[in-house]
Symmetry: C2
Subunit: 177 residues, 2 copies
DNA sequence: TATTGTTATACTCTATAACTATA
DNA sequence: TATAGTTATAGAGTATAACAATA
């Protein structure tokens, strides 16, 4: 059976709330205007629920904008980590992105076939291989990073720049450490 | 081929940062102390990355705490929506939680077999069926909701109550509307 | 003995097509 | 003609076991 997949437990919701619930446990919050008929007020008090939905909202846009580059979020993360950490090993990428080694093999193979990365022998460990971006990989990653940075502002149009910075800071406080 | 799965594009990362990158596009941020060797400073400026990691951090704890109840996040969401919206239809749950109808069938069937929900004929539409919690379902959902609410405070131990409220508000601004 | 990269493979999650019975 | 619930199934994503080469 194995441990349940964490990533798979994330789902993508669609629409929002209604009124408040008569629940003794749920924290009372301002429940805004209805929209899709159902009362989702309690779920909207949960950090996990809100963070998941926000992440999925951003990722939906990410998928659309990165389509021209043929990059999924995980591909972008891998390329970006290689770009900023030339010579990084597969094992390091796995640890950082929480990908299991067997599942990274295909991604690396694919990026290699596309000519975006090159694998060089590791200087001190002949088992490992250092990962580097090719010239084309560097160009693609730079374009993709620019796209990601622009996307950052677009998806947070409802927030002021200060609010966005606060949001990112608070999110890092949740998952770092 | 079909549209790429949004939920599946979420991955669970593990450890954090290092130094800053010499990238002309990446917004400059305070890059804190290293920890796992790799430079992840740019990724940590991205809302999607931070929201995903925060969501996964919360969900990891959620999975552990909900194990005694035999509930995955999606099961908890379904039970909670039924609890707060008695008589809700499968179709409504699908729209709200962005689950495709064929994929909800098994979950509903499972909750039914466990005796947690009951399906009653819909008062005005004989195609549909209204979903309700059984007595046992109500007890389990209440316990689970209490657990979720407690978890809310535990996972945000690095935040003040005011910060947590701010965080939830900002997250809702990202995905609502 | 442990670790890197790898293959093979099983399990879970997500998506599409198509059916039935009602509307 | 369209919709609610359902079945069957295909495709992505995620997991474990085991192996060869090297540490």
């Amino acid at each position: 059976m194995s441990e349940p997949s964490v990533a798979n437990t994330l789902r993508r919701p669609r629409a929002p709330r209604k009124t408040a619930s008569t629940d003794p446990v749920s924290p009372s919050v301002d429940t805004p205007e209805p929209s899709s008929g159902l009362d989702t007020s309690y779920l909207e008090t949960l950090l996990g629920y809100n963070a998941r939905r926000a992440a999925l909202a951003v990722i939906t846009v990410f998928l659309r904008r990165m389509e021209p580059f043929g990059l999924r979020p995980v591909d972008f993360s891998v390329l970006t980590l290689i770009a900023h950490n030339p010579g990084v090993t597969s094992r390091q990428l796995c640890a950082e992105l929480d990908i299991l080694p067997p599942n990274l093999v295909g991604m690396i193979k694919s990026l290699d076939k596309r000519g975006l990365i090159v694998r060089k022998p590791h200087p001190s460990d002949r088992r490992a291989q250092g990962l580097h971006l090719s010239a084309e990989g560097k160009r693609l990653q730079k374009q993709a990073q620019t796209t990601a940075t622009r996307l950052e502002h677009d998806v947070s149009h409802a927030l002021t720049p200060a609010e966005l910075e606060t949001l990112n800071t608070l999110l890092r406080k949740v998952y770092l450490r």
